[in-house]
């Protein structure tokens, strides 16, 4: 039978083409020559969080003397460019909420009673994390893949900011090949100066197929001796109205819980 099939040159060509397509489609991630950095980055985003979700996080600032300050945030995110975070603790910060729409960020302080624009390099909590870290959008929403290489069990992605309004000009992202989640990310200014390094740690099953690092640590040569960490406790898929991501809704974010 096989002899019969291969006897036709047209059929040989057909099977050869099919084999090439199958090879290209089913290629294992380790084959660098045909790596698609953009597809990998999209998958990294997908693995870190669902399209629309709610999340609880604890943020810890660790000072050089070991002193800690802790903040607990409730966050919701929709699509690639909308995110809101509400402070649940400590009491001095409770009720504060922050909104991000693309590169726009606002802070609502209950006492002040109105949202004020904030910038991505500021930090509403102090410590090493700035506002763009706390209200992080999808990496693929803010960065293009400039290059991709392989090193052992990791992909190394060089990412370039899509615009000048993004907090870091370039990122060097190390991605675990198997899990397709980041392990370390170095963040650079346009001058080439290293601003901070992010370390994704301690993978955890959050349910509904979400398996991702549950700890994000950071340090910075600009804040010697300081360290900050984000601990993720709960990530749930959640349907959210677009109107939730507006200034008028900022005082009411707690209603989403």
């Amino acid at each position: 039978m096989l002899v019969k099939i291969y006897s036709s040159p047209l059929k040989v060509l057909f099977f050869f083409t099919l084999s090439i397509i199958a090879y290209l489609t089913l290629i294992t991630p380790g084959q660098a020559s045909t790596l698609d950095g953009t597809a990998i980055l999209l998958q990294v985003d997908k693995n870190l969080s669902p399209e629309s979700y709610e999340m609880y996080r604890k943020l810890i600032n660790i000072e050089p003397d070991g002193t800690k300050k802790e903040f607990v945030l409730y966050s919701v995110k929709k699509g690639q460019n909308k995110m809101v975070a509400l402070f649940l603790s400590p009491a001095s910060e409770k009720g504060r909420s922050t909104l991000r729409l693309n590169d726009n960020m606002w802070l609502y302080i209950p006492n002040v009673g109105k949202p004020i624009r904030i910038t991505s390099l500021q930090s509403v909590v102090g410590g090493v994390f700035n506002n763009s870290d706390i209200l992080r959008l999808d990496y693929s929403a803010e960065y293009d893949v400039a290059s991709i290489t392989e090193e052992g069990d990791f992909y190394l992605l060089d990412l370039k900011a899509k615009s000048k309004t993004i907090a870091y000009d370039t990122l060097k992202m190390s991605v675990d090949k198997k899990a397709l989640v980041p392990t370390t990310i170095e963040c650079f200014a346009s001058s080439g100066m290293l601003i901070k390094t992010l370390y994704y740690k301690e993978p955890k099953d959050f349910g509904n197929g979400i398996i991702r690092p549950s700890v994000l640590e950071t340090d910075s040569p600009l804040y010697k001796g300081y360290k900050s960490a984000m601990i993720y406790a709960k990530i749930n898929q959640k349907e959210l109205a677009d109107e939730v991501f507006s200034l008028n809704y900022l005082s009411r974010v707690d209603e989403l819980r």
């Binding site: 607990v72 910038t119 008028n248």
Partner: protein, 438 residues
């Protein structure tokens, strides 16, 4: 009220005791435990702060307001102790939320004491869907983008530029809030409408009584720029129009502006004969501002404010001359009638903060300089551009103890004779504020 005093004394004692016991613990091991149970949402939630504030005031004895306050009992300084408790809360039942914010304070100084209990806001919100909200009750609106002043805050009480983040008392009304998110350049569209009645015991300090007023704000987020179109009409105050904008120019640079146009603004001005006159003017007031963050974590807020309805140098001078004449009369004859007249006139507007026409506001703060953990030193300057008088207030804020905030501030106020700041009640002021959030 005696009971209230006792509560405050006990609260303050507790605060001081707690301060001593709340030294942050030093932990070397990394503890990433996170118990979510304690953050579970409850239908009733509350919080607030307790505050103890001491201030020492060096009285500007020759200034107009120093004379008005102490002409019959002159003094060079004044100590004041203020205890405040602020309580906010929320009760949720389905689509209805009840919100409230109360503030009680006891102020004791060498001359007199004062106790107040204010309901700053108390309102119900009905939210059938996220895009629609109906509000009923007393609420603070805080319209406008400015930090120190808001010329478009048509239904807000004026801010104190020395403490612009302090909570303000609201007004009673009925409101609706509609939000629409859109794809494309126009990302958000929101309409806020408020019906504000002014009757006996309801908003009676807002303006002329027995009228129902309407205020509306149309908000756009258009091409990454916040834009508000604001409108007020009603017979309690004259019709007014406003616009404000705000935009981030870079990751560390924000700009904002407000313009208010009031075609028939009523003002009361003292003439050269010492008589208050009513005038109606067309007023266009505006504010231009920026917020800039440097690489060394220095935040600068800079604002220019033009108040068309403010007093000119000459108009302010008339008031200061009146007080000066009152002082001469009192010293030579013991007759305080001119002082009484000046006191009444001061309440028509001259005693309010920043009543001039052109101001610059600057606030510069730096987070944790020289590795001083949890310290945020800063300085605030308010300059009257017309008479070149000013106030300069260096301060430092310490937040090293969780939920505690300590602020030490010194203010130097000057500008010379017959200038706004040169005639203020205080020549300088030292203030220590200790606040505990719960």
């Amino acid at each position: 009220m005696i009971l209230l005093q006792k509560i405050f004394v006990l609260t303050c004692f507790y605060l001081l005791l707690g301060l001593g016991l709340s030294i942050p613990s030093v932990t070397l091991a990394e503890d990433y435990s996170f118990n979510l149970d304690e953050f579970e949402k409850k239908s009733f939630s509350w919080g607030g702060y307790a505050e103890l504030k001491w201030d020492h005031n060096w009285i500007n004895r020759n200034g107009a307001f120093g004379l008005l306050g102490f002409y019959d009992k002159p003094r060079s300084d004044l100590d004041r102790l203020t205890s405040t408790v602020q309580l906010d809360g929320n009760y949720n039942k389905g689509m209805v939320d009840f919100n409230w914010l109360l503030q009680a304070s006891v102020q004791k100084e060498q001359v007199e004491s004062e106790q107040t209990l204010d309901i700053f806001s108390a309102y119900a919100s009905i939210k059938p869907v996220p895009a629609v909200t109906f509000d009923l009750g007393k609420k603070t609106f805080k319209w406008g983008k400015g930090y120190a002043w808001n010329p478009v805050g048509f239904i807000d009480r004026p801010k104190d530029p020395n403490n612009p983040e302090d909570v303000l008392e609201g007004y009673i009304g009925v409101g609706v809030d509609l939000i629409k998110s859109l794809p494309g350049g126009l990302q958000t569209l929101a309409l806020t409408g408020v019906v504000l009645p002014v009757w006996d015991n309801i908003n009676d300090d807002f303006g002329e009584k027995n009228h129902i007023n309407l205020a509306a704000k149309l908000y756009f987020l258009y091409r990454d720029t916040d834009i508000d179109l604001i409108f007020f009409t009603g017979d309690s105050r004259s019709t007014r129009y406003g616009i404000d904008i705000s935009r981030n120019l870079a990751t560390n640079f924000e700009i904002h502006a407000e313009v208010a146009y009031i075609p028939e603004q009523k003002i009361r001005v003292l003439n050269g004969l010492g008589v208050l006159e009513n005038h109606e003017i067309t007023a266009t007031s505006y504010l231009l501002g920026l917020r800039y963050l440097t690489k060394s974590d220095i935040t600068t807020i800079l604002e220019f404010y033009h108040n068309d309805a403010g007093y000119s140098e000459t108009e302010m001078d008339h008031f200061y001359q009146l007080v000066s004449a009152a002082n001469t009369q009192y010293n030579s004859t013991g007759d305080a009638s001119l002082f009484n007249q000046a006191t009444i006139i001061s309440k028509s507007g001259y005693a309010k903060p920043q009543v001039g026409r052109n101001y610059i506001y600057t606030k510069v703060t730096q987070k944790e300089p020289f590795d001083l953990l949890y310290f945020t030193p800063g300085v605030t300057a308010i300059l009257n551009l017309d008479d070149e008088s000013y106030s300069l207030s260096p301060e430092t804020v310490y937040t090293g103890f969780t939920n505690w905030e300590l602020r030490l501030r010194y203010s130097y106020i000057d500008g010379g004779r017959f200038t706004e700041h040169g005639e203020k009640l205080n020549g300088s002021r030292l203030e220590l504020r200790c606040r505990y959030y719960f």
